[in-house]
Amino acid sequence: MHFTINGRAYEADVDIRTSILDLCREHLGLTGAKKGCDHGQCGACTVLIDGRRVNSCLTLAVMHQDDEITTIEGLGQIGDPHPLQEAFVRHDGYQCGYCTPGQICSAVGMLDEVAKGWPSHVSEDLAAPLLDDGEISERMSGNLCRCAAYPNIVDAIREVAQAEPEGRTADEKDAAMIGEVLA
């Protein structure tokens, strides 16, 4: 089978039952996406397929050979983190970190949904949803954090959501410090 993951082409000879999660973790060395429940209940395996967030554990690899798959490895690099990665560090949006790649991939997909004007369960006006903390919590409810870092996750996502489109919200000193920590 052939795949496009994080802009790179891969060939893999895998069992027909292989999920995108197992493909990435067990066959391609992309271990960023995590296996939590393996049943679509925890969100730790969240990746983006053609820009849409999905549970990679409930996704057969064979069905997505012609799609663009993006994992956490494709969002940020060491020394050049994604704005959400920076914000999670700055706001301490994790404790053990196991759910974090899924949280960040999910947040990227979620903010794109917000940009498209998609409503949520808590939107008062479905035609014009506003992104407040309640909206962030509801829209991120498919990502569990057993360390319960939820308030800080919401803080991190809110900061990126409110950032100017062209810029990152971290000041340069912060960004440099985070780069050092990650390096």
Partner: protein, 326 residues
Amino acid sequence: MKSFIYEKADTPEAAVRDIATDGARFIAGGTNLLDLMKLQVETPAKLVDISRLDLATIDDAEDGGLLIGAMVPNSDLAADPRVIANYEVLSRALLAGASGQLRNKASTGGNLLQRTRCYYFYDLASRCNKRSPGSGCDAIGGINRILAVLGTSEHCIATHPSDMAVAMRALDATIVTLKADGDRRRIPIHDFYRLPGDTPHIETVLERGELITHIALPKPPSGRQSYRKVRDRASYAFALVSVAGIIGMESGRIANASLAFGGLGPMPWRDPAVEAALIGQAPTIDAFAAAADALVADAKGHGSNDFKLPLARRTLIAVLRDLTGA
């Protein structure tokens, strides 16, 4: 997971041809089927991939309604401006279900066909007439907090888990199919699901190999619409009780009422007696209580789900107050 043969269908006609072998199943979003396959509750010998069929658009229908392709993801349906403007109950119901990730993947047709979340259906060590016909039902007399109080039988008390289907029932949707022999048919949603009786493993009137191609909504109903869901946590949980309501008022009286319920029965539930108790009435607490009494008249708790009877009454009354401003 048991292994399977995989085929990808390019057209609906090819899909119904490919499905014509024993143990073959369609797969679209796969969010429910793959979950069940991992547990070997489902063990299809062959999967026919219908996810790329050209059935992912929402089109205006000639009768003023909408024709929704079966492959439209739940997210896209919930966010469609026409659905938001004219079928708010459907958008609200979809958004009350699952998570953002699952709604991005789950299809409209698949949502109608999702299986119960009864604990015993999922547990291969338990007896379940739905999973293994004739084996018995461990839910009856067991832990049945999430299970049904209406339309059950001595063989099965499973609930249908969908929120979307509850709204579809309130909206009088029609399921459009393509049969293995090439015939098409239109099935009103009130005829689509089957009560469990002594065959709880047969959940719809679909024939073997019959493919849902579209869901048709009639022209928008008059009046206000809402979907209220009561569950054990604020998000990402199945309904204990849900109500899809559409109420139209004229001259201070209820002119039209359409009420469907989730979490109560083996199918999205609708009872003409509930609506008859409301139509022509002024929106008073007495009228609402009469409708709620009609809803639970034949309801039967099974122990740990007894609470659903008062919860269903109260939720219905709350929805009616909200929709009528009473």
